[in-house]
């Protein structure tokens, strides 16, 4: 048996013991996870520094504050999330219990990514634990130092059997994908996502795919440009642009371009000093392969700001490209780096058309002081999520579902959505063997009369308010009396 098979097997056996079902157990595990995040900031930071040259403050800001917030929310609301959810009844089921019971799925596979390795690997795990599942955690091998921290330290805090960390590269992942899971949660790119869906097909396993795409950023003529550009610069160059919801490219009027460039240049300097290469708050490209890829994307476009780079350090300066054409290399794939192309469009309508001709992105950003325009642009486009007048922030609102559509993904999580996403919502109808008289109308031999009653009783759905309920019960009593009289005397 391979190492991966063993881990999955053990997780399943642990799940079948039923211990992850109790809410107390789940809350205890979540609290342990919280303790881990708080107690091990140093190790987490160290790993991130080695992997992504993330600065010390970057760890809580971009990774762990969000996790703490999600864990606290889950601990606070778990009882409510996991409780039976009553639904409306029909005439026939008025005296029955009708509700939805959330239940764990079983063993979930969480495949993380390297760009925010804690946020996108542990984030889904929180939902998995809260929903009562076992979870096999497969961190990205690209962020290898973080992967090691997860492998070494998580087992010291979480149930080793229920939540094993399985590290490795492509071969190990392929071996994992041969096993049967009850759900696969993947964060990454579209190419691998297709492979995952194919593997999942074999076992009829549902999947959540958090992918990416080119998230457009439209800047309207009517907006506070200096604030807009500051927020865009922050959204773009954090983590060196290696964010699935980074503003990928800008669409603006030709008359705005120069000012946009000036403002972004100003903010780059404010954030990262004159020499970002020396600034501790500016990261690096994850590896040589991505560095080369990004340098290749520059081809054919005009650099307005930045462009400096150093291969040995995987350093690329915060860069802005001007007058970019739609067929430029940089517009053919998700950039995932610190290159910010500006394309000019003559109107919001042209921007909408441009966006709609392309695959649906994970995020859409609109900067405008005109709320009506914002609402129109939202209504006329499609994307995973929308954020007006800022970047990235919607990721952190736990009451908003975070996920893609079309090529940018399927399914969503955060907050209660994370819990529901990894639960089975089981429909429950609890009836008694009493009131059998009522059922006569549905049994053969069928008559027109019975059909009439059945049409009315069995299927008619009525919305009951608490006042209406009393009135309807009274009415029901009358009908029951009539039916009993008709059929029992037959």
């Amino acid at each position: 048996m391979s190492r991966e098979q063993k881990a999955v097997d053990r997780a399943r056996k642990a799940f079948l013991t039923g211990r992850s079902k109790s809410l107390e157990y789940r809350i205890a595990q979540l609290k342990n996870l919280l303790r881990f995040v708080r107690e091990r900031q140093t190790e987490i930071s160290e790993g991130l520094r080695k992997d992504l040259r993330r600065s010390e403050c970057g760890t809580p800001l971009y990774e762990t504050l969000g996790l703490e917030s999600e864990i606290n929310l889950a601990v606070r609301d778990l009882k409510q999330w996991a409780a039976p959810r009553p639904v409306s009844k029909s005439m026939m089921t008025i005296s029955d219990q009708v509700y939805i019971q959330p239940e764990p799925l079983g063993v979930v596979l969480v495949i993380g990514a390297w760009n925010y390795p804690w946020a996108v690997t542990i984030g889904p795990l929180i939902g998995a634990i809260a929903a009562g599942n076992a979870a096999v955690i497969k961190p990205s091998e690209v962020s290898s130092h973080t992967s090691k921290v997860m492998e070494d330290l998580l087992p010291l805090y979480l149930d080793k059997e229920l939540y094993p960390v399985v590290t490795g590269g492509v071969t190990e992942t392929q071996e994992l994908l041969k096993q049967r899971f009850d759900h696969i949660f993947y964060t990454g790119n579209g190419t691998v996502a297709k492979i995952i869906m194919e593997a999942a097909a074999k076992h009829l396993t549902p999947t959540t795919l958090e992918l990416g795409g080119k998230s457009p950023c439209y800047i309207d003529n009517n907006c506070d440009l200096s604030v807009a550009c500051r927020r865009i610069a922050w959204g773009k160059y954090s983590n060196c642009g290696q964010t699935c919801i980074a503003p990928d490219y800008i669409l603006c009027d030709p008359s705005m371009q120069d000012r946009v460039i000036e403002e972004i240049k100003k903010n780059i300097k404010e954030f990262y000093t004159e020499d970002p290469q020396k600034c501790p708050d500016y990261g690096r490209i994850i590896n040589q392969r991505h560095f080369k890829r990004l340098m290749g994307l520059l081809e054919g476009s005009t650099i307005a700001v930045g462009g400096e780079n150093e291969e040995s350090e995987c350093y690329i300066a915060p860069t802005v490209l001007r007058d970019v054409k739609p067929d430029a290399k940089v517009m053919q794939e998700e950039i995932f780096g610190p290159l910010l192309p500006i394309l000019t469009v003559s109107s919001a309508d042209e921007a909408i058309k441009f966006i709609n001709q392309r695959e649906r992105p994970l995020a859409f950003y609109i900067f405008s002081s005109d709320n009506k325009l914002i609402k129109r642009m939202i209504a006329e486009t499609s994307s995973g999520g929308v954020l007006a007048n800022d970047c990235l922030m919607h990721f952190s609102v736990t009451s908003l579902p975070f996920g893609g559509v079309g090529n940018s993904g399927m399914g969503h999580y955060h907050g209660k959505y994370g819990f529901d996403n990894l639960s089975h919502l089981r429909s429950c109808l609890i009836k008694q063997l009493k009131m059998e008289g009522m059922n006569k109308m549905r049994y053969p031999p069928h008559t027109e009369d019975k059909l009439g009653w059945a049409r009315f009783f069995i299927l008619k759905h009525v919305d009951f308010g608490s006042l209406g309920r009393m009135a309807l019960l009274a009415l029901m009593a009358v009908f029951v009396a009539v039916i009993l009289q008709r059929y029992f005397t037959n």
Partner: protein
């Protein structure tokens, strides 16, 4: 005749034009669907009778009324469903608007099944229309008369721009699946479902699978045998056992079985008379091939037939049959029966019954009959299934408030009522930030420092009840 590609292009163009977005359009289409049923009840009854010898009562209840009910439900609730839902924010985002929009996915594919050929293709369509999508319907070619009826009526009542029926068998379906859809909704078997998932993977298309499995029926403890027998028999032999949620087999003790059998016999006689073949209220098996499969299962089974067992190939008739002394390895226990054959497996304890169920794939429905509420609760808590119903069968799927769908091998995703609307929608998280409070944002910008970080921690982790927690990434 339009090719599949042409149909798809036409629907995609229609979707891009935005014609399906306004609520008025969706309501008009739903009302048209209602008219389709009102105007054509006789044709529907005829078609279902031709395909499955379905009695009028069953057609009305399970093909017409259930769909019409859901249409009414959608019409009355559409406005609410379409409204964006505003959600909570925290201290740092108090001036912002956060809401969730339900948006259409685009062009969806709905593949129906032959056992409830109208219901299983039109009920999903309600959700697709309500959510603002265009849809291609691919009815089952096995239920030929209904397929023909759908191909005739859908273009007559619904917008031809936005909804189309594509007919054909396995080859045509395979070709259809090579195209890109924004959602695929499939009802049918597990083996075909795997092919559908593989086809969907090519385009990263989300999928809803309504499959089946062997739905166990546990009968245990103290109970009203007569009532239980009637409900069990009704649920099992409805549509001649050809229901994805029919109780597939019974698990009970020998005593219970012996006490139950006479009541089952009595119920069958009261429903279908002493010669069920003469009863107009019992349907037939859908095709010769399916009849052959069921008769073969009966032959191979090592159990003892205690009721029924008769069959007639010419009329595709199989009598309501009950078989006892069936063990795990029996032919009847190796696949979903999907016919009027009820095996009874005896167990010695509730634990044994629950373990039996848990050793198998998660079914679409699970039934427990008992007057002891503790028994029902124990079964519910220690098993998993798409849906659960105690002391009755099938009826849980008639409630539009309950999501109808499987788990594990019995499927993924769900529909009925609002769940159908949600299945065919994308929940888009939207946030409109204020231009103000840039001073709070300052805390997140580089150069990073500890002091800013602690202010941020305070501002974004407000734990007051009712506020969503929020943190800066």
């Amino acid at each position: 005749m339009e090719s599949q590609k042409q149909v798809l292009e036409r629907l995609r163009a229609a979707f891009r034009s935005g014609v399906t977005l306004p609520m008025h359009f969706r309501l008009t289409q739903l009302e048209a669907m209602m008219s389709l049923f009102e105007d054509n009840e006789n044709q529907i009854l005829e078609a279902l009778h031709e395909d499955l010898a379905k009695p009028k009562f069953e057609t009305v209840l399970s093909e017409i009324e259930i769909v019409v009910n859901d249409i009414c439900y959608a019409i009355s609730n559409l406005q609410t469903w379409m409204q964006p839902t505003y959600v909570g924010t925290n201290l740092a985002t108090k001036l912002d608007d956060c809401f969730v929009r339900s948006e259409p996915l685009g062009v969806v594919l709905i593949i129906g099944a032959w056992n409830y050929p109208l219901h299983l293709i039109l009920l999903p369509l309600i959700g697709a229309i309500a959510a603002g999508n265009c849809a291609i319907l691919k009815p089952s070619e096995i239920s030929r008369a209904t397929e023909k009826l759908l191909a005739e009526l859908i273009p007559k009542y619904l917008s031809q721009e936005c909804y189309a029926v594509v007919c054909g068998g396995a080859e045509e379906t395979k070709t259809l699946l090579e195209n890109r859809f924004d959602h695929i909704f499939y009802t049918g078997s597990q083996s075909v479902a795997r092919c559908i998932l593989l086809a969907a993977a090519v385009h990263l298309t989300p999928v809803t699978l309504e499959l089946g499995g062997k739905c166990p029926c546990l009968i245990y403890g103290r109970l009203d045998m007569k009532a239980a027998a009637k409900r069990l028999v009704w649920a099992k032999f409805f549509n001649t056992g050809q229901s994805c949620v029919a109780p597939d087999y019974v698990l009970c003790t020998t005593e219970t079985r012996d006490a139950l059998l006479p009541f089952i016999k009595e119920a069958l006689e009261s429903f279908y008379g002493s010669d069920p073949q003469q009863s107009p209220d019992l349907g037939r098996i859908v095709t010769d091939r399916h009849w052959d499969r069921l008769v073969e299962l009966l032959k191979k089974s090592e159990g003892k037939i205690v009721i029924g067992g008769e069959s007639d190939k010419k009329t595709k008739y199989i009598a309501p049959t009950v078989i006892v002394d069936v063990i795990e390895s029996d032919a009847l226990m190796q696949e979903e029966i999907f016919g009027p054959i009820l095996p009874i497996i005896t167990i010695k304890s509730l634990d044994e019954a629950i373990n039996f169920v848990n050793e198998r794939e998660k079914p679409l429905a699970l039934y427990a009959f008992s007057d002891e509420s503790q028994v029902v609760t124990t079964v519910l808590e220690r098993t998993s299934s798409g849906g659960f119903c105690s002391n009755d069968g099938i009826v849980h799927m008639s409630l539009p408030g309950l999501p109808f769908g499987g788990v594990g091998a019995s499927g993924m995703g769900n529909y009925h009522g609002r769940w159908g609307f949600e299945t065919f929608s994308h929940k888009r998280g939207c946030m409109m930030r204020s231009w103000l409070l840039e001073c709070v944002n300052v805390l997140r910008y580089p150069p990073y420092n500890e002091s800013n970080l602690s202010w941020l921690r305070w501002a974004t982790t407000a734990k007051k009840k009712g506020w969503a927690a929020c943190s800066v990434m």
